[in-house]
């Protein structure tokens, strides 16, 4: 049996695994700063690849200075107060609020999927429609949503709901169908009623997998949210990125993109930890 690096049976040492897993990060950062250095040597006014110092300054300004459209704050205020009235905080808060509302609106989708999977009449009523709805490209509905709901918050939230809920409904439906029939029959023999089976047996069993499914759809949620913010918004992380694009403000755009990635990573991590804490019995496949 071969033990080479392309062998299925290879067992790389832990230290090598750590090095390998960070390698691409390091290589990417080095490649970027090398390119930035070369471009700045050729043109000191280059704005496409800001240097580390420029990005740090851009992020510092974003995190401690208010947005251009807001009133300027007193520089003598405390660090916390300056941060709380900063552009970065204002944008993060606006995007997080929309993101949070969208996540809450996914819960009815889970419940609908559960009921569709358990109750044949509800399944018959909704399944075909949801399957069709799932195939509609949500972004193509954007003009319709802006016409129907205006360019306020509602249209952006609706874009996320339309884009992600069919997937979550179908995931919850399939997970419900995947619960062995023996468990349902067993629950009835123990004295459960229909809704006991739904909420005390099936929902509890599918919930960790549903959370995983939502986790895997976080990027889709963000994608639809960013599309809405970029087209019609006066605040939010995507609004700021779109705005800065007009001024070639790459010194802020790049840190903003990384900030969004960090935020999503933290949401994902906290959902994973929550899942583990709430469902100690659950073993991921």
């Amino acid at each position: 049996m071969s033990q080479g690096i392309l062998s299925i049976h290879a067992k790389p040492p832990r230290s090598l695994v750590v090095i390998l897993s960070w390698f691409l990060f390091g290589a990417g950062i080095l490649a970027y700063f090398y390119t930035a250095e070369v471009r700045h040597r050729e043109n000191p006014e280059d704005r496409v690849t800001p240097t580390a110092k420029q990005m740090a300054q851009g992020m510092f300004d974003a995190a401690l200075k208010p947005a251009e459209e807001d009133e300027q704050t007193d520089a003598s205020q405390s660090f916390v107060n300056r941060f709380l009235s900063s552009m970065l905080w204002k944008d993060t808060k606006a995007t997080s609020k929309r993101f949070g509302i969208a996540m809450v609106l996914l819960l009815p989708a889970v419940m609908l999927g559960l009921h569709m999977g358990l109750f044949p009449y509800i399944g018959a009523f909704f399944l075909r429609f949801v399957l069709f709805f799932d195939k509609i490209v949500a972004l193509s509905l954007l003009p319709i949503l802006f016409i129907a709901f205006g360019i306020d918050e509602l249209s952006k939230i609706m874009l996320i709901v339309i884009g992600v809920t069919p997937t979550i409904i179908l995931d919850a439906f399939n997970l419900t169908k995947g619960v062995p029939n023996e468990q349902v029959v067993k629950a009835f023999t123990l004295g459960a009623a229909d809704f006991d089976v739904a909420y005390r047996v099936v929902l509890k069993q599918i919930w960790p997998r549903v959370l995983n499914s939502i986790r895997l759809n976080l990027k889709a949620v963000m994608l639809f949210l960013f599309a809405g913010e970029m087209i019609a918004s006066t605040d939010g992380l995507a609004y700021r990125i779109a705005l800065l694009r007009r001024h070639m403000g790459m010194d802020v755009i790049i840190p903003y993109v990384l900030w969004v990635a960090v935020l999503l990573f933290l949401v994902d991590l906290s959902m994973r930890m929550l899942n583990k804490w709430l469902h100690p019995w659950f073993r991921e496949a």
């Binding site: 062995p180 023996e182 009835f188 023999t189 123990l190 459960a192 047996v201 069993q205 019995w281 659950f282």
Partner: protein, 277 residues
């Protein structure tokens, strides 16, 4: 107690008959094993008695009444997926009584905690009886071996005091040693609690060792559904030679089904229960 009145069961389109005009009476306190080859409809018969499936024709009566959905009267121990994976062993055992006794709001009353403690003590009693340790109570099902899981499933089913216990190949996935232990356990439990047990198996030795009565399902024609090929009373005490004889007889009935006479004919297998002893 259980009257199976001329039931037939067919699946699919075009319909494929699995069970064909079965008539059966099971008395209270009997330990009945249903035996037969794979695909002969043993589990279907159990599900019809359980009420999780409805026959194409005929009726299943329990104390003269039709019960068309599974309920607390009939405990169920399937071959797998017996336990709820999200509950600990103790929670699995107490789940039945908790379902019936506690509504959502009753959880905020002192009476709830009092009664829950009583149920937990009762469950611990069952746990000891089925040979598990107190430390196993807090484990999740996937932390138990297959045999332990089935022991817990039996305790879970008995906790709601069903009148009938339906076991579908409950020991099939276990290794021989564990299986023998489980057979002894279920036999002891049956002798002490006196429930009616219907036990589906394809293992002839298991059927002879466990049951007071063995029913063999077999097809008299591959195109037809299964019928009762043999209905055999097993005496309380049997010698080793008699066991070998019984096993041969049962295996012959389940394998050589072509020679089985139609139940409508005189001296049909259903009417001629064989008493050995």
């Amino acid at each position: 107690m259980i009257s199976i009145d001329n039931i037939s069961m067919a699946y699919g389109s075009p319909p494929r008959t699995v069970l064909d005009r079965i008539d059966l009476e099971i008395e209270e306190g009997e330990f009945v094993c249903v035996l037969g080859q794979t695909g002969c409809g043993k589990s279907t018969l159990l599900r019809l008695i359980l009420g999780s499936e409805q026959p194409t024709s005929g009726r299943v009566l329990i104390d003269g009444k039709e019960h068309k959905q599974p309920d607390r009267m009939r405990g169920y121990v399937p071959q797998k997926y017996s336990l709820f994976p999200d509950r600990t062993v103790l929670d699995n055992i107490t789940f039945g009584p908790e379902l019936c006794e506690f509504r959502l709001l009753s959880r905020f009353t002192p009476a709830y905690y009092r009664r829950r403690n009583e149920l937990r003590e009762e469950a611990m009693g069952y746990l000891r009886r089925i040979g598990l340790r107190a430390t196993d109570a807090k484990k999740y099902p996937d932390q138990l071996s297959g045999g332990m899981q089935q022991r817990v499933a039996i305790a879970q089913a008995l906790m709601t005091s069903p009148r009938i216990l339906l076991m579908d190949e409950a020991f099939s996935a276990l290794d021989p040693a564990t299986r023998r232990g489980m057979q002894a356990l279920i036999r002891d439990l049956w002798q002490s609690i006196g429930k009616t047990i219907l036990f589906v198996t394809h293992n002839t030795h298991e059927a002879v060792h466990l049951a007071t009565r063995v029913i063999v399902l077999a097809k008299d024609n591959p195109e037809h559904g299964s019928r009762i090929a043999l209905d055999l009373k097993v005496p309380e005490t049997v010698h080793e030679d008699d066991i070998a004889h019984l096993v041969r007889k049962l295996e012959a009935a389940s394998q050589e089904s072509d020679s089985v006479a139609s139940p409508n004919e005189e001296g049909s297998p259903q009417s001629a229960a064989v008493r050995v002893g």
